[in-house]
């Protein structure tokens, strides 16, 4: 039984799972990456075809409810999830999102290959999220 547990534990350890990137915001925050100059476009290009609060469950292609990225608030409340699924950083390079197939229009059929962010864009995403968490917000 002990051998079985060891084997199973090794199987578990080698499973590729979403991992926090460990990215930190430079101190002081340079404000070079913001929602207006980076985050909004990133989400528009790669995410909101499925992660949009206007989409009913049946049109989200598996995107969980309350993971809606058409606003800064929507991104902010699950920024850790985004980092673990799409961010690159010192501790992990997560490319679980976007998936392979996407709708060409929000809520539509999976009729096209998803646009994929570059490695540099994924690193910027992780850094922007890290910085955004510490910035003052009014929502």
């Amino acid at each position: 039984m002990r051998s079985i547990l060891i084997v199973l534990a090794l199987v578990g350890c080698t499973t590729n799972v979403p991992t926090p990137t460990g990215t930190t915001c430079p101190d002081p925050d340079p404000n070079t990456l913001t929602y207006d100059n980076f985050g909004m476009q990133f989400m528009t290009d790669y995410c909101i075809q499925c992660h949009d609060s206007a989409l009913p469950r049946s049109q989200r292609h598996g995107a969980p409810l309350y993971h809606d990225f058409e606003t800064l608030f929507g991104v902010f409340v699950v920024s850790g999830h985004i980092d673990e699924r799409a961010g690159f950083g010192p501790d992990a390079e997560n490319a679980f999102m976007p998936p392979d197939r996407c709708p060409s229009v929000p809520g539509g059929a999976l009729d096209s290959n998803c646009a994929q962010p570059s490695s540099e864009e994924r690193r910027k995403l992780a850094e922007w999220l890290a910085c955004e968490r510490d910035r003052p917000h009014t929502f």
């Binding site: 039984m1 534990a9 199987v11 578990g12 979403p18 969980p64």
Partner: protein, 254 residues
């Protein structure tokens, strides 16, 4: 005195009180060493805070038992519909063992059990937990006339892995917490020589963060020679394990 099959069938239902154990039906452990196999068909609908959909699964399993030991291993294969996306794939594999420590008749028996789940299912899509789950438990049964009562209590804990991606209990198909205390209570009545019916309550309390889970169900068990067929209808009471679930399982003892 040989172990009565009715007692052990009920014991077989008392794995760790995870939702999965509720359909670990049909083990016939009637004395001499024997091998067996079973196949279960499962259909369920679910509606959690962030996901809604349904799933169907086929669960083949193999088993071995003698008078005091029972071991089974199974791998569920799923079709999962979650928020408009349909997926196919394996779930987490399950190995389960039980040992009869006290008692040798139907009247009163008790023992220990250990369930281990291996992360063969995809944790990103809700088919798997993403880590090994170890679930030791203790169980006992009492029989008076045509009525049998059974109970079990256990502890489930994840080895490795971390947060279930922040979704609380996970995966969608067999939600469990990272660490939890589990329980099961059941009663069964012999309606005829080969026909029994019963009710089951089971659930889990999280240790640390997580969701309390509770399930109830009714089942009918028909035994004919070496074949045993179980039909069950279950309902989620708390923690959103599912809304309703149906299980049909046939087990054959070689």
């Amino acid at each position: 005195m040989p172990v009565g099959p009715r007692a052990v069938v009920l014991v077989a239902l008392l794995g760790p009180a995870s939702v999965r154990a509720d359909h670990d039906h049909g083990a016939m452990q009637a004395g001499p060493s024997s091998f067996g196999a079973s196949i279960a068909f499962v259909a369920a609908s679910f509606d959690t805070m962030i996901y809604a959909g349904d799933y169907q699964s086929v669960v083949p399993s193999a088993r071995w038992s003698n008078e005091r030991f029972f071991v089974s291993a199974g791998l569920p294969l799923y079709r999962l519909l979650e928020n408009g996306r349909t997926l196919y794939g394996p779930g987490d594999a399950m190995i389960h063992g039980r040992f009869v420590a006290l008692g040798s008749t139907d009247r009163a028996r008790a023992g220990v059990a250990l369930g281990v789940m291996a992360p063969t299912g995809d944790p990103l899509t809700g088919l798997g937990m993403g880590h090994v789950m170890v679930m030791p438990s203790v169980w006992g049964t009492v029989r008076r006339g045509d009525v049998m009562l059974a109970g079990a209590a256990g502890f489930g804990h994840a080895l490795g892995g971390s947060t279930h991606q922040g979704h609380g209990a996970w995966p969608l198909v067999e939600p469990m917490n990272i660490s939890e205390v589990t329980w099961t209570a059941s009663g069964e009545l012999e309606l005829a020589v080969a026909l029994r019916a019963g009710v089951v309550f089971s659930g889990a309390l999280p240790v640390g963060e997580g969701n309390t889970r509770a399930v109830t169900g009714v089942r009918v068990v028909w035994t004919e020679g070496r074949v045993e067929t179980t039909a069950a209808i279950q309902a989620g009471l708390a923690g959103d394990p599912f809304i309703f679930r149906g299980v049909l399982e046939t087990a054959l003892r070689f």
